[in-house]
Every structure is written in C-alpha cells, then in structure tokens.
C-alpha cells in the first residue's frame, strides 16, 4: 500500500530549480534514503514533504489524499533535524511529550507513552534532564523518540547521523532501523553518505541537481547503475566504450560477453562498467572476458590491494587479493566476469565529453 506519493513535485528558488519533476511512490513501512551530494535538492524535498516549504508545482499525497494545502502542523509528518534540535527550555520528558501535548492528549497517557518511548531509545530515567545535560547521541535519541511518539504518518530524518562520531553512528543506525521496523513507520531520511543509505534503507532515491537519477534497492546502485554519474557516486570509475552486437561488446582491448539480463540498448556503441571488487586477475587472454592492462599504481590496503591500471584508453580500478605482487609497469590481465558487466544508459558521445571533464 502506498503511504506517500510524490507526483511531479517541483520547487524553484528564484530562477533556480531546486527540485524538478520528482516522482516517487513510497510503500507503508518502507525506509527510503534520499541520497545525493549537498545542494542536490534532497533537503528541499524533505521540507516540501513536511509542508515547511510549498512546492512550486506538483502534488503530494499521504494515503492517497493530497496534503499540499494542509499545513505542517496537521500533516503528521515528523521531522528529525540534523542538529538534534531539542527545545532548550524543556526537560527530556517534556520534549518527547511535546507532540502529544499539542494534540491534547491527557497527562497520564502522555506520561506512559513518553516513558515507553524513552525505554525504546534506551533513555529510561533521563526524563527530568535538560537538553544541555545530554551528549550528542542522547540528544539524537530524544529527538527520535519525540518524532515517533505521535505515530506520524511519515518520519523524516535530515542527515540523522551527520553530527555523530563514527562509533555512535553505528549504534544509532541500528537503533533507528530497529525502532522503525518495530513500529512499522514509513520513513524517509536524507543523507549524502552512500554507505549510510545502503545500510539503512530499503530503497535508495538518488538525486543530482534537483533531478531524480535512480530509484531502487541498494544493491542495484552497485551492480546496475543507470548512468556513469550514479556509478561514480557509488565509487566506481571503471568505464569502457565498445560496440554491442547481441551479447557481445567489442572493445579496443578485446571482445566481452555480457549476460542476457543486461538492459536492452540494441546494437551499436555502448559503455560498459564493472565494479573494482568484482574484477579478478587472470592468467591470460585465453580466459573468457579477460583484457590486457598495464599497472599504473599498486597500493596495499590491508584487506586488499588496490590496483590502478591502464585498460586500453581507460583507467580502471581493480581490487585484487592482498597478496597480489605486481608493480608499476607490469603487464597483467583483468577478467570481467560476465554476470558483473553492466551497460549504462549514457549516450557514448556525451559520456566521452563528461569523462574528459571529470577524470583527474
């Protein structure tokens, strides 16, 4: 069942489009990550969903009902701010119970629901503290409890882990995920960190420059990026142009066989990609999908060895076993497993231009 439906949602600031024609359906209980570099429009989208910002055009539906004209306070979209914002004039319990109090819930019920929520976020007994007496992680948990206690239609989190240190991120991530699952709350969070998105979200929504790039489960962004931009955002630099004929892509370095499940682009020029960690070193050209390459750099990384190689006219990254002993200038063979090759949708001509600009 669709909890939130975003239809051709757009927002302009002056002459600039912050968000352009965004379409998205979010199922009930789903956890969505709005991912993208800063300035891509993800926060603007979040604020439009909460109602703090009016869309320039488009529609927004909660449970099938348009909410564009419903003010924030009656929309039921709870927002967790990046700064772990707590009302400084209130205690923890007052903060958590704020939404219930606004809704006119009676005191006894507020008390029990607040205590229950504080238990869930592992802050029982902190009810009488003031905001400035809490650590960053504790503040974040109070903010989470406060957002969830009213059972919002949708929970929105703006960079929920951005201001926390590394260890705390892991515990908070787990906590957020588990509580969201338990309560079955529909949630959307904004992040610029693709790892965070992958680990937390059921589905990722990737945006560049106010436009939607790709929507799907996290693994698709690794294995099946739609564009070079998406692939690069997920830290893959490996692209090679060739000419497709059926399941064969002929490149300057040799022919590659691709799987039947690769998208159908028809015959003609295409660009293929494969992630560094899926590549293997092979013994020679005779093995299927092996291409000759020369080593530019080899960096020992502990768990693996990172090779940067020249593959025909492209520079590729290869994640080799840690014991790999090659050095600069060595000639090696890289095998691209058939199932791991993917064809991106970029036009080869425009890609050449873009990669010339982007590669440094």
């Amino acid at each position: 069942m669709t909890a939130v439906s975003i239809q051709r949602l757009s927002r302009a600031f002056g002459n600039e489009w912050a968000v352009q024609e965004l379409d998205l359906e979010i199922a009930s209980g789903e956890m969505i990550a709005l991912l993208g570099p800063s300035g891509c429009g993800k926060t603007t989208t979040l604020r439009m969903i909460t109602g703090l910002l009016r869309p320039t055009s488009g529609d927004l539906l909660f449970d099938g009902m348009s909410v564009v004209n419903i003010p924030t306070e009656r929309r039921g979209a709870a927002l967790i701010f990046q700064e772990h914002l707590l009302f400084p004039t209130m205690t923890v319990a007052q903060n958590v119970g704020f939404g219930l109090k606004m809704a006119g819930v009676n005191k006894a019920e507020i008390l029990s629901r607040v205590n229950e929520m504080l238990d869930r976020v592992e802050l029982s007994g902190f009810g009488n503290r003031k905001a400035h007496e809490l650590s960053g992680g504790q503040r974040q948990r109070v903010a989470l409890a406060r957002g969830l206690v009213t059972r919002p239609k949708v929970l929105l989190l703006d960079e929920p882990l951005a201001n926390l240190d590394a260890n705390l991120r892991i515990t908070m991530r787990q906590l957020i995920r588990s509580i969201q699952r338990e309560l079955g709350t529909t949630a959307i969070f904004v992040t610029h960190d693709q790892e965070e998105a992958v680990m937390l979200a059921d589905r990722i929504v990737l945006m560049f420059d106010g436009k939607l790039q790709q929507v799907g489960p996290p693994d698709e962004f690794y294995r099946h990026p739609r564009t070079a931009g998406v692939a690069k955002f997920f830290r893959s630099q490996n692209f090679l142009s060739g000419t497709r004929r059926g399941n064969i892509v002929a490149t300057g370095a040799g022919d590659l066989v691709v799987s039947d499940t690769v998208i159908d682009t028809g015959d003609g020029p295409v660009i293929i990609t494969a992630r560094p960690e899926t590549l293997r070193l092979s013994s020679g050209l005779n093995e299927q999908n092996s291409l000759a390459a020369s080593v530019i750099t080899s960096i020992y990384m502990g768990t693996h060895t990172q090779l940067i190689v020249q593959l025909q006219d492209a520079v590729w990254h290869v994640q080799a076993p840690p014991s790999t002993a090659v050095k600069e200038g060595d000639q090696i063979f890289v095998e691209l497993p058939k199932s791991e090759i993917w064809i991106i949708e970029d036009e080869p001509e425009s890609f050449a231009l873009a990669s010339a600009l982007n590669d440094e």
Binding site: T50, G51, L52, P71, T72, E73, R74, G76, A77, A78, L79, F81, E83, L85, F87, P88, T89, M90, F98, G99, K101, M102, A103, K130, R146, G147, T150, L156
Partner: protein, 291 residues
C-alpha cells in the same frame, strides 16, 4: 624565582583588569549610597549632621503623601513595563520576518532607542496636550470643538502622558532585545514544533515565549527600575500632586530648609531599597528560568 614572579603576575592579572571599573563604581556609586544613607539617618559629620535618628524614616513612611506617591510610581512603572513588553514582543515577531519594507521599518523602529527621554516628553507635549496636534486634528475632523473636549493626557491623574513617553522609548529597547534573541534562535524551533503538530498559538505559548523569557526578564527589570527611578519625565508630565517618588525625593532634597535634606535622602533610600529587592528577586527568577 622567575617562576614565582610569573605566577604572582598571573594571579594578579584578573584583579588588575577588574580593579579600575570596580573602583569607579564602588567609590562613586557605593560611596554615594552610603553617604545618602548616613544623611537619611541624620549622621554625616562632614555636613554638620550629628544627630543619629530614624525619625525621618518614620515621618516618611507614615506620611500618606509618601504612600500615595509610592503607589503612583509603582503603578506607572508597572503599566509602562507591561504595555511596552506586549507591544515590543508583538512588533518583534512581525519584524523578524522579511517582507517588502521590513528593513527600513526595522531601522525606523529603532529610532527612539538612542533618543533622550526629554525629547520623548517634548514630543508628547506637542502631540497630546489638550491644545496639541492630535486635539487639533480631532477638531478638524469634527470630533470635538474646543481643547476642553479632548481627553486630559498630560499632567493627568493616571499618568497617560508619562506612560506614553516611556512606552515610546522602551518599546524599541525591549523589541530589539527580543529581536536579537529571535534572530539568534532562528526559525528552527518553530519549524520543529510545527512538524510536531503545534499550531500558531501553541508555538507562541510553548516554544517562542519560553525562549525569549530570559531576555525579557532582564529587560523587564531594567525598564521597570528605570521607569521607577526616572525624574525628569514625571516632573514634566506628571500632575502637581501626588508626584512620583523620585520627584518627591529630589524636591525635598532641593528645599532651602536644611531639615528637608535628610527627608529627601530617606525617600531616596527607600527607592534604592525597592530596586535592590527587585534586583535580587530577578536574579532568583533568572536562575530558575535557566536551570
């Protein structure tokens, strides 16, 4: 040795930094209060007063004129503080947002702040006297036909003229403090409250007012104490009788009869005592509101 000298220098650093201003205040202000207190109990040998007595206090505190003055002074200060706060907070809420003309209007809003109180009094007289500009406009419109038809707003029983000139001055003061707090807080807390279902009234009551409260408390106490102790405005715009306490104190002090001076000082001491109580009460309150 060098180490010792260094640490001595370090230890004396803060006291030396604090000393000059403390000396000025303790000597001039503290000294003034002490001399005033001594004069009020009739003991100040340098002035030829040697009879230690509380009779001036007894006389002052049992004098119905004093009690009426105290009430008038208190009432005016209270009304000024209340009115200024309500108007200032309301205006600050409007002015913190950007809209066409908001910048220039915020500037105009600040104009009375540095303007001396006497100027405010001067303008209030020109505008609100029974033959003042507003009365003349009322005549032109046809509401009244003679000055006597216009309500008495200067030198009046309720202190309307005094209140108006104080409010004119104090609104920007309170308003700018509130504006400064609101600006530094930003729109975040309100947005947060909205997402938690708080409507306009609830946001004001539960979020914004508690946020500006500490700032408001400080300005309240400053404005109240200032209004309570001001001399020239009630002297110009107050009625002949009863006058406010500072006017009464100063006039007693300035009377040619030498016996009046201790009485003036006794009234002044009572004013000081009341404001000190205010100060202490406020610090208590402030501690609670921030705890």
């Amino acid at each position: 040795m060098k180490l010792d000298r260094y640490s001595l220098k370090e230890r004396l650093k803060i006291p030396l930094m604090v000393f000059p201003s403390m000396a000025v205040i303790v000597l001039l202000f503290g000294g003034g209060l002490v001399f005033g207190l001594l004069q009020s109990v009739g003991y100040l040998p340098v002035a030829g007063l040697t009879d230690f007595t509380f009779s001036h206090y007894v006389n002052v505190l049992t004098d119905p004129t004093f009690l009426r003055s105290l009430w008038v002074t208190f009432r005016i200060a209270f009304i000024v503080t209340l009115l200024s706060t309500i108007i200032a907070v309301g205006m600050a809420f409007v002015l913190r947002e950007q809209f066409p003309g908001s910048r220039i209007s915020t500037f105009v809003f600040q104009i009375p702040l540095p303007v001396p109180h006497l100027v405010a009094a001067s303008a209030v007289i020109l505008l609100f006297a029974q033959s003042g500009l507003i009365s003349r406009i009322a005549v032109a419109i046809g509401f009244i036909d003679a000055p006597s038809g216009f309500p008495v707003l200067i030198n009046d029983k309720l202190g309307v003229g005094i209140t108006l000139s104080f409010v004119w001055k104090e609104v920007p003061f309170i308003g700018l403090v509130v504006l400064a707090v609101l600006q530094s807080v930003g729109p975040k807390y309100e947005e947060l409250a909205r997402t938690l279902g708080a409507n306009k009234r609830q946001r004001l009551q539960y979020v914004l007012l508690p946020l500006i409260m500490p700032g408001l408390l400080s300005t309240w106490i400053i404005v109240f104490a200032f209004t309570f102790a001001n001399f020239e405005i009630p002297l110009l715009l107050g009625q002949t009788f009863p006058q406010t306490l500072p006017v009464q104190a100063f006039q007693e002090f300035q009377k040619p009869e030498l016996t009046s001076r201790p009485i003036g000082m006794a009234i002044a001491t009572v004013i000081a005592a009341i404001t000190i109580v205010l100060l202490v009460a406020y610090r208590r309150l402030a501690r609670y509101s921030r705890a």
